[in-house]
Amino acid sequence: MDPPLTNEASFTAGFNPASYSLVELLSFPMGSGGGGLGLRMGSFGGTGEVFRVGDASVEESTVTDQSGGGVGKRRMDIGNFHEDESSKLVSTSSANSDLNERNGKRMKPSGSIDENGGSKTEAEANSGTSNKGAEEKSKPEPPKDYIHVRARRGQATDSHSLAERARREKISERMKILQDLVPGCNKVIGKALVLDEIINYIQSLQRQVEFLSMKLEAVNTRLNPTIEGFPSKELAAPSFDATGMIFGLQAPREYTQGPQVEWLDMQIIVASVYKRSLEFGVSIDLSVDLNVSFLVGPNRIYCTL
């Protein structure tokens, strides 16, 4: 029995019972036996909120709950119900509260009052092991739908603002990821400007794709007559040796042959580009004889023959 800080004692004492008592109350109308916590969390929006409230100090949470509607009333009842018990539960370390919470939930299906006692003893047993700061409470985050948010001093603790804060944190996290993705976006400060940058970048990428497909179309049309002019059997037999030999002699025919070979082997070549995975500075050997190599930059491509 460590003598914990008064703050901790107050809210953890309120918190633990609140968790399982709530669960009990909710489980009775539901009548569902087994099933994970996730189910219940999903079906009841209220439970998550209550747990979040439980993170904060009890006094405040009950006050805010009173101001709420019907659901709030129910919660308030729970709170009252627990304040009786909280006197018994004096020493529980805040670090264990998550664990207790889980235990309470797991035990819930059996749904008996004895359970309360059981989990309480557990909580007491756990209390001896670790007496860490309240900040660590959010550390062992369970992989569930709800998020533990810890309210700092002076921050609002009602469920809505807590949820809102969680959402904002999530958004800023995603924004950070996006900032890393978009070049030159790291130095930009301010959400609106970052979003502007992102939008510009996406637009430029889309335009680039359009532009490139236009280019590709132009090349394709140039390729068009040559491919049609030849029967497929000749297409099927591309020999780089032959083209290499012919090159100096007949320019027009090579013009017709080169593309065919290209089209046939495009798949392989492109694959080879990726195999080397040099997006900037690709060198491809089209064949041994021709020895064409690329240097693909962001804006231009060099190729040597």
Binding site: T221, N224, G258, E262, I269, I301
Partner: protein, 180 residues
Amino acid sequence: MTTQIIPSNPDSIKTRFTYSFVRALKKLNKSRGASVSPSMKETYRRYHMIRVASYASMASAVGSKRAWSRAVLWKIRNRTSHRALKKKSRIHALTRTKVRENPRSDLNFHQENDLRKLVPGGEGMDFCRLLNETAHYIKCLRTQATTIVVVWAVVVVGVIVGRIGDGCGGWVEMSVTCDK
């Protein structure tokens, strides 16, 4: 002569995109009419087809687990198959977006709406989810652009190899400058 080279990561989106895009290009080439000098309209149609092919192959390479790829595929399918349904669905989509204005958007940036319009399927999405999808979409667009550049280069080199032949010792510069 050329050895069959197995791509290093056959399951990657890049590889899948490349394969399906090249296949689509081949198909487009085959189905092309015998017109020697294509009209402006025809050219535009082909360009459009290539663009659609690139988007479709990207979306199908990504698969159906992403909202934006689903939206792209849905859009393409509806456009090509039934026009009537497209009109109807457009009206429907308009009304739907109006109804489903995100009520929780506390950051009332007009940028958010712009972003929704840019990312396919972005309407009626939670803002968090929208950002997630945007990140993935950006990655995929980048891959798409790079791959198209490479495919284009390969084709062009085919042409150049045919045209110039020997006697070309230095670097041939092909600029793909993208004016914004």
